[in-house]
């Protein structure tokens, strides 16, 4: 154990304190909504892990091969615009999988936006 608290422990503390100490004392609807969203955000921040952007670009570049060029995401747009491109279906499948991964990680945010507290 380090001599300082981890990010995960601090985010967990934030979510727990907002849930148990702050929220029960709030009556203003706007303040309650904002606090539930903060709880969701704290849970999300503690669980989301490292930024997948680089890994994803490498996966896309590998699927495209030389067609990936310098700007992988721009190349993806060109591939998606051409339904006859040899990797059109592959790139679409990868991008949709990445989108679904984001949605899974962000489910706690979406629920908080709808006023639902995360499971304990």
């Amino acid at each position: 154990m380090s001599d300082r608290p981890t990010d995960a422990a601090m985010w967990a503390s934030m979510a727990d304190t907002l849930r148990r100490t702050v929220l029960p004392n709030l009556t203003d609807p706007h303040a309650r909504n904002a606090t539930i969203q903060l709880i969701g955000m704290a849970v999300y921040a503690g669980r989301r892990g490292s930024d997948p952007a680089r890994r994803r670009q490498e996966e896309l570049a590998a699927a495209m091969g030389p067609a990936a060029g310098q700007d992988v995401l721009r190349s993806c747009i060109a591939v998606l615009a051409d339904p006859y491109h040899r990797v059109h279906a592959d790139i679409r499948e990868i991008l949709e999988r990445h989108l679904d991964e984001d949605l899974a990680t962000e489910a706690v945010l979406l629920n908080a936006f709808r006023g639902q507290l995360p499971d304990e």
Binding site: H30, E96, D102, L103, E106, L109
Partner: protein
């Protein structure tokens, strides 16, 4: 909200000292902070920008509401527009408070009110749009809107979103020439209607209004604002009965995709504002990520 500064402003605008007795934030809406304000000069609603959320303009909204009110269309009477941000930290405008029915769920709406709302929306579409907004070439109307939302989305910065760009291309390629263009509300449906005893008192939230294909509004109500109010078939039946609106399944799909694209682009602005510090509210981070992705997922499913 700084009630002292607001009182000074209202006094200066009305030419007589005004006392602000109290204010409360109305929780509806993300692009504007809405406050109900009780003053010695009457009850008002103060609609405050939130750092540029959704890339919309209070000036345009204020001008359109003023024009529609003068024409007798049911909108709140707007009083004063403060564009500088010097008074409350953000631009805002002030409008008359309208006493309307309240619901625990802002998206709930009984059948009588829903029918009245549909007639009101059809009435909006039947107005001479060019009396209120600059004319738009019918052939270009939908393409202009796609470009507009593309630019709003891009203005947020951040990495490219290839699936969103692919959707933009699909929308251009599949756009049909509108039979006519109308004044389109852009965000119509439950939650943006003030009503009492089954009558519509006002449509609210005009920030997305523009000239375009009225199909955009009907689709938005069914698939976005009114989605949990009643089933799709109930809405479309109401549209046909009350306003003679009929669209093919392909048209419904197109306009749902359009509205999801619009929403996905608009939502992206929230992440930019959150990151820049222009708006630190947690809903900005959520709308800019989770909601943006949720819209994109539905959009991708339609255009596949």
């Amino acid at each position: 909200m700084n009630e002292v500064r607001l009182a000074d402003y209202l006094g200066a605008q009305s030419g007589t000292p005004v006392e602000v007795r109290g204010s409360r934030r109305l929780t509806v809406g993300h692009s504007r902070g809405m406050y109900e304000v009780d003053t010695s000069a009457g009850r008002f609603v103060v609609r405050i920008e939130q750092g540029g959320v959704f890339g919309t303009s209070s000036a345009a909204e204020f001008g359109l509401m003023q024009s529609l009110h003068a024409a007798g269309f049911p909108v709140a009477n707007v009083r004063w527009f403060e564009p500088t941000g010097d008074v409350l930290g953000q631009p805002f405008f002030v409008m008359d408070f309208i006493e309307a029915d309240c619901h625990d769920d802002e998206r709930s709406m009984d059948e009588t009110t829903a029918a009245a709302f549909v007639r009101t929306l059809a009435g909006l579409h039947a107005l001479d749009a060019t009396a209120h907004l600059p004319a738009v070439d019918t052939e270009q109307a939908t393409h202009i809107q796609i470009e507009h939302w593309r630019n709003v989305g891009k203005s947020a910065g951040g990495p490219r979103v290839p699936l969103l760009d692919a959707a933009e291309m699909w929308l251009h390629q599949n756009a049909r020439l509108p039979r006519r263009v109308s004044l389109v509300h852009g965000d119509p449906g439950p939650g943006n209607v003030l009503s009492a005893n089954g009558e519509v008192l006002a449509l609210t939230d005009w920030e997305f209004a523009h000239i375009g294909d009225p199909a955009e509004d009907w689709s938005f109500c069914v698939s976005m604002r009114g989605a949990r109010t009643m089933p799709r078939e109930a809405w479309t039946g109401l549209f046909e009965r009350e306003a003679g609106v009929r669209m093919t399944p392909a048209q419904w799909d197109y306009w749902e995709a359009f509205n999801l694209y619009k929403g996905a682009c608009a939502n992206r602005t929230c992440l930019g504002l959150f990151e820049s510090g222009a708006n630190r509210s947690p809903n900005m981070a959520i709308i800019g990520t989770a909601l943006h992705h949720a819209f994109l997922r539905r959009l991708v499913d339609i255009i596949r």
